[in-house]
Symmetry: C2
Subunit: 295 residues, 2 copies
């Protein structure tokens, strides 16, 4: 990190031009001057908006057509569609092409890519950790990825040159890159992202209609992540269900601890537990303040 | 609501001049021109700041002295100190004085007041739902209470005139008032405020040191409430532990439902459950947008 090489890429294909795909297109066009961006989408209106906003140079309603002659192909469709997308493009990717994705879970897509893509087409899993609960290319922003972290998930079968090229690509868009195995990625993201999402949704679901209007700003903030698209999150939570179950069990351990600390004689320990959480969050906030894009 | 009577009060005593006590003082001085505000605090520095910022007119380091000749006395100390505060002021409140508080739990303070205060001194429980994870009179704001909701918790023993006078006081500071029994208040607030706080703290506590740096803006928002003062929240969670346990059980019911929906064949039901949560939150947000103070 810090030393940014530029990947000499002349044609990038973005499959799925929503918030994230559109933002990648905008950032790539701003950073990589001689690069053409081909976009694929299944809805004509999204493609038209992506062209109009300058997120892509060429629009295709057929994934196979969109990847022809591309050196870098970025899958930006929902997690549940990635395997099917790989099947569609596998036979038509040019030799030496590099395929990556932006999915929030990584084991399944890496496995599908290693099974599906022909020899000579390289896959590198990516998870650029940027986004919003908003959806659609109309919310795309050139700076959405700026200073955010992108986790790459190589396996022993990953081509080193392809890995470095994909790292260089994300870095050229202003991202920090880091590496985790697909297994470690999915385990850690269950704790820090998928469980919080599930909890936020459950916290809303448990409220009665008469209680909910008493909710204040704290409740709205605590549940903001649950405002995301149900279809996208259905895929993520189902795909990572083994880790999500384990994360939930570990949360339950902390909640059991808290239940024990509710007895009056445990007052000092409860205060310590609460203050430890507050100061861990404060530390995290301070770490993030210099790397998170203003919103 | 909408029809605001002004309580003809010439002397208010605020016991505890922190964020909330200080904001009440600022708002009262702005709205009730001929009213003197006496403030009590156990730290001289807080009292000096409260005087300096104009949140109080007179400063006392003795609660009994601060309530002398006050028509309205507002307890703004942490929940765990309210019973002791009532014991200190009971013998010196003038006949006809009205005592209220701003605590986040209501059964215990209402019970303590009904047991402690002498005949002729009226108690009305209040919970102005405004605040911040910040602490201290230096964060007090004249508009903190503006448009926020204040829940009053009368019992069959509450004097109707005192109840209406306290409602009129909060309304004169720009708040919306509503009434709930102390039992109903504590039950509903456990769901909508105390459980979310406990969950946010547990969500931080369960993270490993290596995973936490992967947390993004969503995690920070989801855990913002856990940044509050551990001592204040220790009191609230312990005081309301029976309801908090029941809320946690009902959350567990929703989490069990979610675990069942993680199986691939339940995809449609999971999406429905997630979208229902997202749209309930969106409805709440729209309701709140016109009543929440900009921050």
């Amino acid at each position: 990190m810090g030393y940014y090489r530029t990947m000499p890429v002349s044609r990038v294909s973005i499959l799925g031009v929503g918030l994230l795909g559109g933002s990648i297109g905008l950032a790539a066009r701003a950073s990589l001057s001689s690069c053409k961006i081909a976009g694929y989408g299944h809805r004509r209106t999204s493609l038209d908006k992506a062209l109009q906003f300058g997120a892509i140079d060429e629009a295709y309603d057929n994934a196979a057509a969109a990847v022809r002659n591309a050196e870098l192909i970025i899958l930006c469709t929902p997690v549940g569609l990635l395997a099917e997308m790989l099947r569609q493009i596998g036979p038509v990717c040019q030799s030496g092409a590099i395929v990556t994705d932006v999915g929030s879970t990584k084991r399944s897509v890496v496995k599908a890519a290693e099974e599906t893509l022909p020899k000579g087409v390289h896959f590198v899993g990516s998870h650029p950790m940027a986004g919003s609960e908003k959806r659609g290319v109309e919310y795309a922003r050139t700076d959405l990825l700026q200073n955010a972290t992108c986790i790459l998930t190589p396996t022993p079968r990953t081509d080193t040159g392809a890995l470095e090229a994909v790292e260089a690509f994300w870095q050229s868009l202003g991202m920090q890159t880091t590496r985790l195995s697909p297994e470690e990625h999915d385990r850690q993201l269950a704790d820090v992202s998928h469980l919080p999402h599930a909890l936020a949704a459950a916290l809303i679901a448990m409220q009665s209609d008469s209680t909910l209007p008493l909710a204040g700003k704290g409740f709205l903030d605590a549940t903001r992540i649950a405002g995301g698209d149900g279809g996208l999150w259905r895929d993520i939570l189902q795909d990572n269900r083994d880790n999500l179950r384990a994360s939930l069990e570990r949360l339950q351990g902390q909640l059991n601890k808290l239940l024990g600390l509710l007895e009056p004689k445990q007052a000092a320990q409860l205060e310590t537990w609460l203050n430890a959480a507050a100061s861990r969050r404060e530390q995290l906030l301070q770490q993030k303040l210099h790397e998170v894009t203003p919103d």
